[in-house]
Amino acid sequence: MTDLPMPQSGAAPVPKSSLMVADTRTRRRNAAEKRFRLYGAGAIGVALIALVVLLTSIIGGGAGAFRQTYLSIPVALDAETLDPKGNRNPDEMSKVLTLSYGKVLDRAVDAAVGSSEIEITDLSEKDISSLVSKEASAQLRNRVLADPELVGQTVDVNVLVNGRIDGYFKGRVTMESAAADANTSPQQLMLADALKEQGMLVTRFNWNFITNPDASDQRPEAAGVGVAILGSFYMMLVVLLLAVPIGVAASIYLEEFAPKNRWTDVIEVNISNLAAVPSIVFGILGLAAFINFAGLPQSAPVVGGLVLTLMTLPTIIISTRAALKAVPPSIRDAALGVGASRMQSVFHHVLPLAMPGILTGTIIGLAQALGETAPLLLIGMVAFVREFPAAPPEGLFDPASALPVQVYNWTQRADPAFVERASGAIIVLLIFLFCMNLLAIFLRRRFERRW
């Protein structure tokens, strides 16, 4: 590998060589360099291929989550069923169960299919009405309760269709698989095809995937990452508010003010060790300290945030200290030389110069925390949460989910439609991480100054 000079034996006469001909040593050196470049290019190539495979598999699997099929039909909102008292009072109307809305919807679907002059073979009314999602009646109920004046009218509704039919248009469900599936049949799919031709089935961008909460096992078509995004956002808020000030203050103290003795050495080694502790250990710590001892609620973003703070602190401290160390000592001397105190020299001169490094480290720490799953499983963030948490600060104590946990959750479910949702959630997560890294690069460029 290395080019140590060969021991010269005695006084062997060295023949005169020409510069036009490369000698053996030069040739060997050049060959070694060429080989090394090839290794490097090979390593980069392997990494790039892995990245491309990863992205294509995730985007190929998850892009479907962002498109959703709806049945666009007129629905007659029967006043008798939906508002028995007839006073359009939302409080009274909320006593009408989702079941009644389901009946209204079933009738509307049957009527729409009946009037469309499509030839129907081997399909009962129940088969036809089960084209729509079980979630559709609940969505209709929410819409009516929000606007009671709709009762008695006939409104155009985009009804969420069942996950199997949705999957058929995304290529996940085929005639063969439908024949073997108790939840759907080839006849249903043929009806769906016919409805599509009539323009009653439409596929469009699925905003609900981003805004909806999670849905139960039977309704993958209604599941979304809304609660998970909010929960992750709240946790990032907690991490930002706790880890950044504590981490930056700790590193400034350790780097600029603390005496260099055995104690600070011990602290330094332990901070480095903390950075290497597996994240699940922090989960157990959080369970013991924050939930069992301090009595904070389970599944709450505040607990998740605290655990992730503990996990992110070493990362932030190490990168901040590295950034402070990189500021040339001549700047400190200059400030002290004109009579600035230690604190003035740090806050007026050292910290602004270290800022890009500190910001980059912090954002990388945050990104790491955003993608962390294991510790959240232990503090109950894995729970099935349908309710959106309230606005902070109270909302920090409400149950919520988190993006990576939602991915984990969905991959555990039986319906293959959830695989698509899980990949979709991964895409959302990757977009967030990508944006955070872009922000880190932007801040670095913005604050970078030469000295």
Binding site: P259, A334, A335, G337, W451
Partner: protein
């Protein structure tokens, strides 16, 4: 541009500004400065010369307590500024450093505008009551360091964008702006080319009228050109201290003689 005779110009005042008594400095186990006694005069340029590692910079940094920032450094003895012991427990080094300014070996302007570089010291010491006064201090300091005419139209530009010699004069302006009584210079010209060196040396000679200037230098020619008093350090000892002319023409100690004639160092 410069001739040795310049240094012979009469030393007008002979007040003792700084007096050091039995100063010892230890870096951990290393005895870096051994029993130094010296009296530095006001309105005079005093040069510290000697081979590398002889302790001249260390001693210079004792005068404004910059060695306090080094954990393992330990100082014994007394250094008096105008009769007051600067290592007394009641002395705040921050206040001392406002009185004893320092210019470093490598030009180290802050990565801020030229104006902010000079204005920083007066700002933190509250020397100006308003913007006009601050502007005056900045202009006076930049004029004092012979930089005003070169930078007066671009005070908002970064100080780091100036040439090496200009940067060093900016650092001198920054030190002068806090209205110090003593200016310490640690090899201020070692990173500069001969022309910039000439400009800084000329400046040092002008500064003599207002300050007591102590300059550490590697170059014996420079010591001869700019200083009236010279101290020769060797292996942590102050070997010889006297009028610059005497040191260079009739050194008392054989080590001084060996050094200035180029046989050691």
């Amino acid at each position: 541009m410069y001739d040795i005779n310049r240094a012979e110009s009469a030393v007008t005042q002979q007040d003792i500004k700084i007096s050091a008594r039995n100063v010892q400095v230890y870096y951990g186990d290393t005895h870096a400065i051994k029993d130094v006694n010296v009296e530095i005069l006001d309105k005079t340029v005093t040069a510290f010369i000697g081979p590398s590692g002889c302790g001249k910079s260390t001693f210079l940094r004792c005068i404004n307590r910059m060695n306090d920032t080094i954990d393992i450094a330990r100082i014994e003895g007394q250094i008096r500024l105008d009769g007051e012991d600067i290592y007394d427990r009641r002395v705040d080094p921050v206040q001392l450093r406002a009185k004893v300014g320092m210019v470093f070996q490598k030009p180290n302007p802050f990565p801020k505008s030229i104006y902010d570089n000079v204005a920083y010291g007066p700002r933190i010491h509250g020397l100006a009551r308003n913007k006009t006064e601050l502007d005056e201090i900045v202009e006076k300091s930049l004029r004092g360091s012979a930089l005003w005419n070169e930078v007066k139209d671009r005070l908002d530009e970064p100080g780091t964008g100036l040439s090496g010699g200009q940067q060093q004069r900016l650092c001198i302006a920054r030190a002068v702006a806090t209205a110090p009584e003593v200016l310490l210079m640690d090899e201020p010209c070692s990173a500069l080319d001969p022309i910039a060196t000439g400009q800084v040396e000329e400046l040092i000679d002008q500064l003599r009228s207002e300050y007591s200037v102590v300059i550490v230098t590697h170059s014996m020619q420079q010591a001869a050109r700019v200083s009236q008093k010279t101290a020769f350090f060797h292996l942590g000892n102050l070997v010889e201290y006297g009028e610059t002319d005497d040191i260079f023409t009739k050194p008392q100690d054989s080590r001084t003689e060996a050094y200035i004639s180029g046989r050691i160092g």
